[in-house]
Symmetry: C2
Subunit: 279 residues, 2 copies
């Protein structure tokens, strides 16, 4: 497994592989890898001849400095995991990769005004900048993202279209703990009592799914807030029931053929997101 | 010769050629082709297996609506010329190619504050958007631009670096009429008396080159304005003597190892630019 820091070296290596007609699957990450990342990498490896992973804790996408500082960094552990999974190339850029970011801007429109866009100002512009730049450098045939970041997936699909990238965006199912908690690098920061209640996030989403025909959208959202905040350690930042394509909020299930419920929850200082496709 | 309007078709065709390891040379144009464009295309054809040309009068890069409306459009003539020169693929996009342009912005910094950047607000952002988008679609190995648009070349080199394109930017000498006038599609709009005096632009640049060691930078610029405006049909918008790399104005030749003199001239309503490398 090749570990490279320099973008010119990455480009040179990928260029050679492309000339040999090797297909490239790419998994961009912020490290602190868990089974969710590994499942993306396995799929990249199964569907392509070469699997490339990047590890970069991108300061541009953190709207909260403490969250950035405390984000787990476990590079040695990560590279061992990647090697064991059969990753071919790991790209670990330094901060020079974002040096021109302030010169660039791109208006995501509505997608940046709701949910994660609304509550995390500049988050998606940071995501777009780093993913766009990594796409330019790695130039993969396919790139793999987890459905846990549902809105991020929509953002990346739009950016890929708008910038004419010849890259298939592959959306992969969320990996979960036995009790349903979606895997996240931030889970490592939960204290034991926080971890114990965290399963409510997914349990509540399932309640909404199972009762979508019995109750109104508004009743279900109110129910969710009450259900979560009944636990004093937890607070709901948002819960939205929206069209799965446009991500527009709906007020009645008849408005959409594909519905997803998305939420962001604070457990203490740790912010976690999750979502569930309803139909 | 293939003439295509649809970006997906262009991408598909180029993709197939790339898979056959064919190298692609690209000449983006606004049509109304002259010997200058043809010399770019000949070079693209000599240095690559496939030569691609685009023709699109890009509204984004015109700061003057009249100039845009009156810009010559000669598509049938152009495609015949391209076919005769051995062009393989012509891309003639419609305006859907710029439909997302307002979502995008990119700060060129100093390069957009001087000369063409200063006198043609939004010109270079329009150039960058269209060239970037054409690069994304055509994905060439090399792209060819004339030195007549000296500042544009610097802008495109910077953009190519900042967006990590794997494209060699090839800068080609300006093609001139016998009397020295730089070829430009706008020359066709000059009336006979205007055309007769137009050769002064290049003659004056040569005077500056030949006297760079005898006179101060400031004297030479003042001389040029006087020399040009001695002709009542002509007006100088700017004349700058600058470093050939950074395009920073210099006040003494000792400040730079490579100097270029750049000018923009109005003859009646027609605006022409030219430049000359001094050393």
């Amino acid at each position: 497994m090749l570990i490279l820091n320099n973008k010119e070296e990455i480009k040179k290596n990928i260029d050679l592989l492309k000339k040999e007609k090797k297909s490239v699957g790419f998994v961009p990450t912020m490290g602190a890898l868990h089974e969710g990342h590994i499942s993306l990498l396995k799929r990249a490896k199964a569907e392509n001849e070469i699997a490339v992973c990047s590890i970069y804790v991108n300061p541009l996408q953190f709207n909260n400095k403490e969250d950035f500082n405390k984000y787990p960094r476990l590079l040695n552990n990560d590279t061992k995991l990647l090697e064991d999974t059969g990753c071919d190339i790991v790209f670990v850029p330094d901060d020079s990769i974002i040096k021109n970011s302030s010169a660039f801007s791109y208006d995501l429109g509505y997608l940046d005004e709701i949910m994660e866009g609304f509550f995390r100002p500049n988050h998606f512009s940071g995501v777009v900048y780093i993913v766009k730049t990594l796409f330019e450098i790695v130039n993969p045939d396919r790139a793999y993202f987890g459905q846990k970041d549902y809105q991020q997936l929509a953002v990346i699909k739009k950016m890929t279209r708008d910038f004419n990238f010849n890259i298939e965006i592959v959306s992969c199912p969320t990996t979960r703990e036995k009790d349903g908690l979606a895997l996240s690098s931030r889970n490592a920061r939960l204290l034991t009592p926080e971890r114990l209640v965290a399963s409510k996030i997914y349990k509540g989403l399932n309640f909404i799914k199972n009762n979508i025909h019995n109750k109104s959208i508004n009743e279900l959202k109110l129910w969710y807030v009450k259900y979560i905040e009944n636990e004093p350690l937890m607070k709901v930042e948002y819960v939205e029931i929206c069209d799965g394509e446009s991500l527009k909020s709906i007020s009645d299930i008849s408005e959409s053929n594909a519905i997803v419920v998305c939420t962001a929850i604070f457990i203490g200082n740790i912010r976690l997101i999750d979502n569930l496709k309803i139909f």
